[in-house]
Assembly symmetry: C2
Homo-oligomer: 462 residues x 2
């Protein structure tokens, strides 16, 4: 009610109505002011309401982010817990001596090392520990050389070495391997080396400090890893695995839905694509997240069905094969939705059965492959499904050749759709090949005959 009134006031409709009620000769000025006050009030109310709506909308979106994946909220709580643990640890220790001291480094370590996935946590923890130690050793060595060279040269040697090492280390971050595995370590190396180099001059004091620093950083890393692994762990490898399975199923649905939509349109003259047909879109831009997760997954210890040297690199190839397939599905979908002249319905009908069968076979192959990855078993029916797809493709090609010549003139779109569909089926085989390689690298078990392979992402739920 209030809101409606306010909105009415806001878009100016209330003003003329107000003037109409002003009688001749009355105190027009007073009425005018009252009107202004009312408008201001209405404006204020509408502002408050708009603000409330925005806040509520934002809260709803934030809630949805947490509700979609409650592990995100759990992650927040885990970070809080790790920080409280490390601060309690230092509250109760007698050697606690304020922010400048040991507690600071433990807190700093927890804040920067704690990551969403176990792989991220191990990656950062290892990089931090290794880089701190190596930078410390190098710095002590340079310090010792500098101390032998006399007071005059010492600052120059220190500053010069900071310059050189920082420049070289920073440049090394552009090397792809270093970037992928040691990016964070390089930062910490530069940081530690610079801190030690610009610090006091006596090696004795440095050694004592190094010892204390190493123990605090270790405690921080240990608390991080413990909280990260013991409380609802999120494994980068599992996330990668799950995303691969999910994308493959989406792709299967999209191939099927696209072609069904196209041939159904011939019957009902309705070209609205179904939402399922857009499933390929999540595959198109999956490279960045796959690469990131693959890089982190390398650092993870064995867990669940994932061994120590699980071939996470091969998931990248499976992803590339799926994208290769998705590009073609995108073109197919674009062709189906294009404004080009539709092929005549009878020409479509001539090919509808065979094409729909090819699409269904492609989807079946992808679903078999996805289920094989998901359950980590080799699927016996996968090869059969691939062979049946090839038969279906041959049938389409035969039907195409048998198309009466008088139909051909207007069937350009139909030709394209069919040809793209055949291309899609070839690329689906590429996905199957990549999955086969994954199966042999990861030593997937043979499917049990008695138990039918469970489909879905059941194995992925930790």
């Amino acid at each position: 009610m209030e809101m409606a009134a306010a909105k009415g006031a806001q878009n100016g409709r209330s003003a003329p109505e107000w003037r109409v009620t002003v009688p001749e000769g009355a105190s027009a000025m007073g009425e005018h002011e009252a009107g202004r006050a009312a408008r201001a009030w209405a404006w204020l109310v509408s502002c408050v309401l708009t603000f409330r709506d925005k806040v509520l909308g934002f809260a709803r979106r934030v809630w949805k982010i947490g509700a979609d994946d409650p592990r995100r909220a759990v992650h927040g709580l885990k970070v809080g817990l790790a920080l409280v643990l490390v601060s309690v640890f230092y509250y109760t220790r007698p050697l606690y001596d304020g922010v400048g001291g040991a507690a600071m480094w433990a807190v700093l370590t927890v804040v920067v090392v704690f990551e969403y996935t176990v792989g991220g946590c191990v990656y950062k923890g290892f990089n931090r520990a290794f880089a701190t130690a190596s930078a410390g050793v190098v710095a002590l060595g340079v310090h010792w050389i500098a101390s032998k060279s006399g007071d005059k040269f010492e600052p120059f040697i220190c500053s010069g070495s900071v310059f050189l090492l920082a420049a070289m280390a920073t440049f090394s971050r552009f090397i792809p391997t270093v970037k992928a595995r040691f990016d964070y370590g390089v930062t910490i190396f530069i940081l530690t080396y610079s801190l030690v180099a610009v610090s006091g001059y006596r090696v004795g004091a440095l050694l004592a400090m190094a010892q204390q620093r190493i123990s605090t950083v270790s405690i921080g890393i240990f608390i991080c890893l413990a909280v990260c692994v013991l409380i609802c762990p999120v494994w980068a490898g599992q996330e990668l695995h799950r995303a691969t399975v999910h994308n493959m199923e989406k792709l299967a649905g999209a191939v099927e839905a696209c072609v069904e939509d196209y041939f159904a349109a011939a019957e009902v003259n309705n070209r609205q694509p179904s939402a399922k047909a857009d499933g390929y879109k999540c595959v198109l831009n999956s490279k960045a997240s796959e690469d990131a997760q693959g890089n982190l997954a390398r650092w993870e210890p064995a867990h669940g069905k994932f061994g120590f040297r699980h071939p996470y690199g091969q998931y990248r190839n499976v992803g590339a094969a799926m994208r290769h397939c998705a590009y073609c599905v995108e073109a197919l979908s674009g062709c189906i939705r294009s404004a080009e002249t539709q092929a005549p319905a009878h020409a479509k009908r001539h090919l509808a059965d065979a094409c729909t069968r090819v699409a269904a076979q492609c989807a079946r192959v992808l679903r078999e492959a996805s289920s094989s990855v998901s359950t980590m078993t080799t699927s016996r029916s996968l090869d059969l499904a691939v062979a049946e797809t090839k038969t279906a493709v041959q049938e389409v090609q035969a039907n195409l050749r048998a198309l009466p010549a008088n139909l051909l003139m207007d069937a350009a779109q139909l030709f394209t759709v069919t040809s793209l569909l055949i291309n899609v089926s070839t690329r689906v085989e590429g996905v199957v090949d990549a999955v086969d390689t994954l199966a042999s690298l990861a030593a997937f078990k043979a499917a049990d005959d008695e138990k039918p392979a469970e489909s879905g992402t059941k194995v992925c739920n930790p």
Copy 2:
């Protein structure tokens, strides 16, 4: 010479030759040992040589990384310089008091804030400054409340607030806007708040420390920004601009080369694709880097032709339109290279001219658009080129309809290529639309008639 000998020894060919020279009745044992020693020596030499080759190969690759873009090496030197500046600053100041003190925070700030692009540097500097200040204020407030609540509750209030704020702040990183713009700030907020909260209890000491901390962090940020902006600055906005122009030119080359290769193959029966035809590949996975650069570019001040509120967000739309086009080129390229039966040469010849013209027109449109973005001027010939593309497409469609019916049976591939090409031309129009929007948002100047529009990436070189 040495290497050849070593390799011979390694693959075992030298051993039999050696035995042949052993005379009957001679000290076979001694000879055998000499042979073993020689083999060991050869093995050692080959190891050293392999190692030398690996090191040289690695050095060559690293050198290439620097030679491809010398700004990377310059970036390394800049980081070194900033660190030396900040350490010299603290060497010469009387208040310098070792690693635990002020110098540490300045060094730490430089190491973590210095980024390759100016945008990255400003983003991190702003986030660091703002997050440190806000976390400090919140921490002082909570400290004050805690100090009023008595000694018993104080640790609980401090630890509880660390837990709550850290959990909430960490969770907020999953909100896309926060992730894109304030990810680093959230880390620093948690860090600073935790440090202050677990530090000593007196607010007075905290205030003095806060003052000192803010001055050191400011000095670090100032040195970073000065070095980053004054010495060979790398602007994220320019990188984005340059990548967009480069990708558009690559795409233009790929469309042209693909179609030319296809029709040339009819003449010379040679289906080897040219390297140019693969140009679309750099467009396919450009999303991640475009998003990252777009996010950083927002933080950059006006520079060169880029105003303060340059519409960097629109580059993302141009990129999306290019990817949309590249997917179709990928399908086209896949179709051309597929093992499908080639269309008969005379059918191809019937369409070759018109199709090549469409491809050349598409490439021309893309090159015009790219040159328009590159020089930041609106191109007059762009609309003309789009219109001519449409005419060329109509011509192809007419030729297709005029194809003799007896040719049609084997021309499925030709149909597909043509149809995909027409689709590509539609999507090129989408790129032009996105570029037009960019031109109006960024207020591109009208092209000067006397000076012909310079093509290439001249404007991008800083």
